[in-house]
């Protein structure tokens, strides 16, 4: 076997020009693929980071309370019991907090905007909130009443600064509006597109605005040490909550504000619990990731096919050139199968080496782009990439998959010529010598 590798490797070196050209083609395609998948990964990471800081835990216990058959409030009751259950069902959780869901208008002297808002307990949430990068003010000031934390983009639109007073107006029942004056206690750096739709109020304040009881809230957010276990934890929570006697809603992977319409039309009343995860809450944006993946997949397929063809071509010619050698080896006593393997090894070496080089270069470029913190000017691009700066992230498994995919695809092209080589009768092979 070792001799096959030796022959293959040395043959590649002998055909320097071809090896270089084809190798460069494979390297370029690999670099492209690595960069694109890193960008997609970056988007996904941004989505998760944004989602879990702004409005979701890894797993959420949330739900709706219907006071009548035609209403739908995103409220859960029996909060103390739910939090206790959460602790019991997920003992490995790093922390568990609860937030009140809200939706309303922020009105300043100059402007206004209508966005979802969350009522939080700053002290309890300190570990989560540390991911927010403060531009001005002090987050912990929210523990005092009548405070508001907004993001840079919102501060810009409303034209307010820390210390300014704004009015928060929320539609409660039957389109009544309750208002409250609050002070901006902190302005936080934007976290991409998602933070455009986010603001934080003091939990007690928002409860007051909605006239909610003490033991009701919006969602219990459970944070896990390893987010890859989300699916397993989610199903544990589902069965645990159900066993405790709560009614569960059917799984519907959508953010909560998209479910109002549906829930308002359903015929039940009272409380139903909805178990969601962080992906559900940003599911409306997931189509971007899907789109990227599909496009990347298509592009890669086409490119790899073309490269495969190139390799096939090269192998074919090589075999023709070495027909004499092939005959000799067969005459000496080499089995057909061994011959086929020999002629697959050569393109295999070329593709795997090129792929590895491509991966290394691709990773270097990705790291470089990340370090440059490129700011995205175009607002449409910002929406897609869900971030203000270009972020690329790599995962080890992705690299492995890329490597296997490219190498396999390109080597597969070698099978046919190699097989034909094996089929060559030793006689004909030898006769070309003369």
């Amino acid at each position: 076997m070792g001799i096959f590798f030796t022959i293959g490797f040395r043959s590649l070196i002998k055909h320097k020009t071809h090896s270089l050209i084809l190798g460069s083609a494979i390297i370029s395609v690999t670099i492209l693929l690595i960069i694109i998948t890193n960008v997609t990964s970056g988007i996904q990471d941004t989505m998760m980071k944004g989602s879990t800081t702004l409005f979701s835990g890894h797993v959420n216990i949330t739900g709706f309370f219907k006071t009548s058959t035609s209403s739908a409030a995103p409220v859960i009751t029996d909060l103390a019991r739910l939090r206790k259950l959460a602790r019991e069902i997920v003992p490995e959780a790093t922390f568990i907090v609860d937030r009140v869901n809200g939706f309303g208008k922020i009105i300043s002297d100059q402007s206004s905007m209508q966005i979802p808002m969350m009522g939080i307990d700053v002290e309890e949430e300190a570990p989560i909130l540390k991911d927010l990068s403060v531009a001005a003010g002090n987050i912990s000031d929210l523990s005092k009443k009548n405070g508001l934390i907004i993001f840079e983009a919102q501060a810009k639109k409303l034209k307010v600064a820390v210390g300014d007073r704004v009015t928060v107006s929320m539609p409660t029942y039957r389109n009544m509006y309750n208002t409250m004056d609050v002070n901006v206690v902190a302005i936080v750096r934007d976290m991409g597109y998602l933070s455009n739709f986010s603001a934080f109020l003091n939990k007690d304040d928002i409860r007051e605005l909605y006239q909610m009881k003490e033991d009701s809230s919006g969602r219990v957010m459970i944070f896990l040490p390893n987010y890859k276990t989300v699916a397993a934890v989610e199903s544990r929570v589902r069965s645990g909550i159900e066993k405790a006697g709560f009614r569960l809603m059917d799984k519907d992977p959508q953010p909560f504000f998209m479910k109002f319409d549906k829930v308002a039309a359903e015929g039940w009343t009272g409380q139903k619990i909805d178990i969601t995860n962080w992906e559900d809450e940003v599911s409306i944006m997931k189509w971007i990731i899907t789109l990227f993946n599909v496009l990347t997949g298509m592009l890669t397929m086409i490119l790899l096919t073309i490269v495969s063809l190139g390799l096939m071509n090269m192998l074919w010619i090589t075999i023709k050139e070495r027909t004499g050698e092939i005959g000799t080896m067969r005459a000496i006593g080499m089995q057909r199968r061994s011959l086929v393997i020999l002629f697959i090894i050569e393109p295999f070496i070329l593709s795997s080496l090129s792929t590895i080089i491509g991966i290394v270069i691709g990773l270097l470029i990705s790291a470089g782009l990340n370090a440059m913190h490129i700011i995205i000017a175009d607002s449409a691009l910002r929406t897609f990439l869900m971030s203000d700066t270009l972020l690329l992230s790599t995962s080890f498994s992705q690299i492995i998959i890329t490597f296997i995919a490219i190498t396999t695809f390109t080597t597969v092209g070698a099978i046919i010529p190699a097989w034909r080589a094996g089929k060559l009768s030793p006689v004909i092979a030898m006769s070309t010598i003369d």
Binding site: S112, P171, T269, L299, T305, I306, A380
Partner: protein, 691 residues
């Protein structure tokens, strides 16, 4: 001539190389043509949707605007602050006179409102009121409605004390008030003299009992204030579907038919309509489509929307009819309806017909019906609210893209009402407000008290908010509609007022840039203080999306052809090596370098043209077959991009020509280096062994 012959023969003899290069070219050209066709179909589709309906070719708005204009709203999902322009008539006259390419100017202004069309009790009380007002006294119907109202009151009682109290903190005082009101409403004495004192009784129920139902069935209505006949006239694809357009001089709204059928229509009915369309027009089956199955499931879980709206008497009748129709002995209307709504391919049509003949007439099929008046409330950027009672005159759509979500997002309202709702706190406005508040007979506001903050932190502004709210839904206000809201106004009134932005339709869209410059200079000269942007910029993020898609496509094609160059070059080099002896021989016999070059050139040309054409032919087949039938949109996002439920592709010879040219250029570049090398082959190599 001999060169061409040789070139052809060479291609045939070196089969392997020809095949490889050929396949690469076929793949590349196929992908390029299909890709370009696909993307251009999408971008042209979206462009048409926009320019022929919402944006027009150009948009003008105030130069003093604080934000960038975007017709769909900005990044934060709210409407951009673009200030307003003083006088539409002035602007229109000047521009039409001085800029020749303008076909029409349509004033617009976008805003959105929340509409609560009233809960079931509101609706039934309204029906009851109408009955009493009729000349002919329909005792049976009145009895039916009274029974229903009674049933609803019992429901309210159960729900309020069991459910509402769980999440809302109600003070003991308020709780006692509610119980007292409910007791009154249930008392025999209340109902005994109902007919005699129906006005007061209905008002009591409307003000005290109806608010106890918490209804989250709010309609979010995004609308555009415009001059209705101008709009209808300027956009050629405009057509009225139901009812009529807003009559000139009157206040009113025309909803988009899509909005009417999607949001306003009863959910269960809407889903049945969609299933029918999928089955008949798109030839799908329930069995084979998860989307349709999901719709059926939703219908079943939301069947409460049907039986809650039926009067008890009607419910009894329908039970009998359903039992016969379904051959069932079940007597519970809820279960019967759930069974009924579990449709499949076999029984769908008959059940659909049954629904519309026997059930639909007795439920609230449309939350707001064409011809009805309903209250609409908006909030200005200052946080003030403004309300109007508006009559819905009809629905409209744009003929060729009725299924596109882009073109159908804007319900139309007359410009006068728009201005009122916009909330400019001009002195006139303030006077009007206080006049209106005095007119309204504000009696008791205890319900609103219960739900607003009793804390003094609340702004007085907010207090008047709730006050305004609670009166809006009573009939008293509607009665005043005829006297106050329906004053006829003149065209001059319409045009001599503010507008936010206006769409400009051009006679010749190709001259867009020049027209924009003309408008800018006229604005300077006449001090109009307006700025102009093209449709793509006006479409904000959507316009940029279109650009983005195109950029993506062209980069893809570029990459594919770039990589192809490598591969083709390699193939050529290999071929040259094979033909070392052959070319050396030719040179030895006496062929000049030029000859070799020409021969190779023709080979490359013939090869690239032939295979590119094959690829183009293949793409033509695919486009005609698949694109002709249309690519179905599989979800809402796809529907948005496809500007409809299907994307149709059209083969364009210009694209094909472009791709052909590209293929030839790519081959030429790839062949450059090998061809150059080939000419350097010495004649001496004709003899002796191969390289």
């Amino acid at each position: 001539m001999i060169i061409i012959k040789m070139a052809l023969r060479n291609l045939f003899s070196h089969k392997m190389k020809t095949l490889i290069v050929g396949t690469v070219l076929i793949l590349g050209s196929f992908f390029a043509v299909v890709g370009v066709t696909f993307v251009f179909a999408i971008s042209e589709g979206m462009k048409n949707s926009l320019t022929h309906s919402i944006t027009g070719d150009l948009q003008i708005y105030s130069k003093l605007a604080k934000d960038k204009f975007s017709i769909f709203g900005d990044e934060n999902g709210s409407y951009p602050d673009i200030d307003y322009v003083e006088n539409f008539a002035t602007i229109k006259n000047i521009l039409e006179k001085e800029v020749s390419n303008i076909e029409a100017i349509v004033p617009m202004g976008g805003n959105f409102a929340m509409v609560n069309p009233g809960n079931i009790l509101d609706k039934k009380l309204e029906e009851l009121r109408q009955c009493f007002k009729e000349k002919i006294f329909d005792a049976a119907k009145i009895l039916e409605l009274k029974e229903h109202v009674h049933a609803i009151i019992l429901d309210i009682e159960a729900q309020f004390f069991n459910n509402t109290a769980s999440i809302v903190s109600v003070s003991a005082e308020d709780s006692a008030k509610v119980r007292a009101d409910l007791d009154t409403a249930r008392a025999e004495s209340f109902w005994k003299d109902f007919d005699a004192k129906f006005e007061r009784k209905i008002e009591f129920l409307s003000n005290k009992i109806a608010p106890l139902i918490f209804d989250d069935n709010v309609l979010y209505v995004s609308y555009m204030g415009t001059i209705p006949e101008t709009f209808a006239r300027s956009f050629s694809q405009f057509e009225i579907v139901k009812g009529t357009n807003i009559p000139p001089g009157h206040r009113g709204m025309v909803l988009t038919d899509r909005f009417y059928e999607e949001e306003v229509k009863h959910r269960v009915a809407r889903r049945l309509d969609k299933i029918k369309r999928s089955l008949l027009e798109d030839h799908e089956t329930i069995k084979g489509s998860k989307t349709l199955q999901d719709k059926i499931t939703s219908n079943i879980s939301q069947s409460a929307e049907v039986y809650n709206q039926l009067t008890p008497k009607r419910a009894e009748e329908i039970v009998v009819k359903l039992q016969a129709f379904l051959s069932s002995k079940e007597s519970d209307i809820k279960k019967l309806l759930e069974d009924f709504l579990k449709v499949d391919d076999a029984n769908f049509i008959s059940r659909y017909d049954f629904f519309y003949s026997e059930i639909a007439p007795y439920i609230v099929l449309y939350k707001v019906k064409v011809g009805e008046v309903f209250p609409i409330t908006t909030f200005s950027k200052y946080g003030t609210s403004h309300s109007l009672n508006i009559k819905v005159y009809g629905t409209y759509r744009f003929k060729s893209f009725e299924r596109s979500p882009i073109a159908t997002g804007f319900n139309l309202i007359d410009l006068m009402s728009f201005r009122d709702l916009f909330g400019l706190l001009t002195p006139e406005r303030k006077k009007e407000n206080s006049e209106m508040e005095a007119e309204m007979a504000l009696e008791d506001v205890s319900i609103s008290d219960m739900f607003k903050k009793s804390d003094s932190k609340k702004e007085s502004e907010g207090a008047s908010l709730s006050k305004l709210k609670s009166t809006v839904f009573t009939s008293g206000f509607k009665e005043d509609f005829a006297s106050q809201g329906d004053k006829v106004f003149s065209n001059a009134d319409l045009e001599n007022g503010i507008f936010l932005n206006a769409a400009i339709l051009l006679k010749n869209p190709a001259k867009m840039a020049a027209t924009m410059r003309a408008i800018d200079s006229v604005s300077e000269k006449e001090k109009l203080n307006i700025q102009v942007i093209d449709w793509k910029n006006a479409a904000g993020i959507i316009g940029q999306l279109i650009l983005f898609i195109r950029v993506l496509l062209f980069s893809f094609i570029g990459i594919v052809f770039g990589v192809s160059i490598f591969i083709i070059m390699n193939a050529f080099i290999m071929a040259m090596l094979e033909r070392y002896k052959e070319i050396g021989t030719m040179r030895a016999i006496g062929a000049q370098k030029q000859f070799v070059l020409s021969m190779l050139f023709f080979e490359v040309l013939i090869q690239s043209v032939f295979f590119a054409c094959l690829g183009i032919l293949l793409s033509w087949l695919v486009i005609v077959i698949v694109g002709g039938r249309g690519i179905p949109a599989w979800n809402d996002i796809a529907t948005f991009f496809f500007s409809g439920s299907r994307l149709y592709l059209f083969f364009d010879w210009w694209y094909a020509a472009g791709v052909l040219l590209l293929a030839v250029i790519v081959s030429a570049i790839a062949g450059l280096y090998p061809a150059y090398q080939a000419t350097k082959i010495p004649p001496v190599s004709a003899l002796g062994k191969t390289h």
